[in-house]
């Protein structure tokens, strides 16, 4: 293993991220856009300040949305591939495919779900422009904190594994992660900027859709990148292996060097 495989994994990660962006884009367009439109309709009905439209709604909901989701997919695909490079062979006896799946799950939970439960996605019309700076800082802080805590939890779990066994060590590390995240939730400021009269159903559906977009992205990425990484790093079964696998009573000497 050398930098060749890092480069190969990184390239595959970015491509898998781009490909995983497509189902995410599908979810965002089909389920998300109707909610964005409803929220903008609410916004228009309740405020009268209206500047000239710089980018038309049609462009925003098609080309703009695609740019956002696909670049997001490529960027997170690259980052996740680097994380897989580090995790390979270090988080237990998992092959490339399982490692990719676990890293993707970790990225979904630590990179999105944990920050989301504190600072959920908001549709247009929700959120006070005056607090945007603060909300942006806190959101990114929460993402960084959550990812660092997750990495810490994995290291803790690996340290505890020889003493507690893999299962109990994993549970202990997960509990530690949840407790510290809970403390962060309790001490970081919250925002409640949903305008009076904003439809609760619309807010709920919008947030659920935002979750669905991420699930589509990370599940697709985990499966795709896992497949590519497995093919790259695990030697394909040779003819001799296949004979050994199918012939249960075959000569054992065939497997031994």
């Amino acid at each position: 293993m050398n930098s060749i495989s890092v480069r190969a994994l990184l390239v595959r990660g970015m491509l898998a991220g781009l490909a995983a962006g497509l189902p995410a884009l599908g979810v965002a367009y089909l389920l998300g856009e109707p909610r964005v439109d409803s929220a903008i309709a609410y916004e228009d009905a309740h405020s009268h300040e209206h500047g000239a439209e710089l980018v038309s709604r049609t462009m925003q909901s098609t080309a703009g949305l695609s740019t956002g989701v696909l670049v997001y997919g490529v960027a997170f695909g690259g980052i996740a591939a680097l994380a897989v490079c580090v995790a390979l062979g270090r988080i237990g006896r998992f092959g490339p495919r399982a490692t990719a799946a676990l890293v993707s799950l970790g990225a979904l939970v630590a990179g999105y779900l944990v920050p989301f439960f504190k600072y959920p996605a908001n549709p247009p019309a929700v959120g006070d422009p005056d607090t945007l700076d603060q909300r942006t800082t806190l959101y990114f802080l929460m993402v960084v904190l959550s990812v660092l805590l997750a990495v810490g939890a994995v290291i803790l779990g690996r340290r505890l594994a020889p003493r507690l066994g893999n299962w109990n060590a994993t549970v202990a590390a997960a509990v530690a992660f949840i407790v510290v995240v809970g403390l962060a939730y309790a001490f970081l400021p919250s925002f409640n900027e949903v305008p009076e009269g904003f439809p609760a159903t619309l807010l709920w559906q919008f947030r659920l859709t935002a979750l669905a977009v991420q699930c589509a992205l990370w599940v697709s990425f985990g499966l795709l990148f896992g497949h590519l990484a497995e093919r790259l790093l695990s030697p394909r079964p040779t003819a001799a292996d296949r004979v050994a696998a199918t012939g249960a009573t075959g000569p054992a000497t065939a497997e031994r060097p």
Partner: protein, 74 residues
């Protein structure tokens, strides 16, 4: 089947995968990690709380993506 071959030939089960040395990953992680974060910045935060470019073009272009990907938008 590779697994059984390994455990059959040695008493101690060895990891299936040799970790990639962190030294080999570091330059890639540094350069591409940074590049990816810059991409995320432009998708997620440019011309919102902070701005490198003037105007509203970037913000307006990725507006819907920003909302649906969970970034604070406005």
């Amino acid at each position: 089947m590779a697994q059984s071959a390994v455990s059959a030939s040695s008493a101690q089960p060895v990891p299936e995968i040799t970790p990639i040395s962190l030294k080999a990953i570091a330059p890639w992680a540094l350069f591409f990690g940074l590049l990816m974060l810059i991409l995320l910045y432009f998708i997620g935060a440019e011309q919102g709380a902070t701005a490198v470019l003037s105007g509203e073009g970037v913000h307006e272009w990725v507006h819907d993506g920003r909302h649906l990907l969970g970034f604070p938008c406005h």
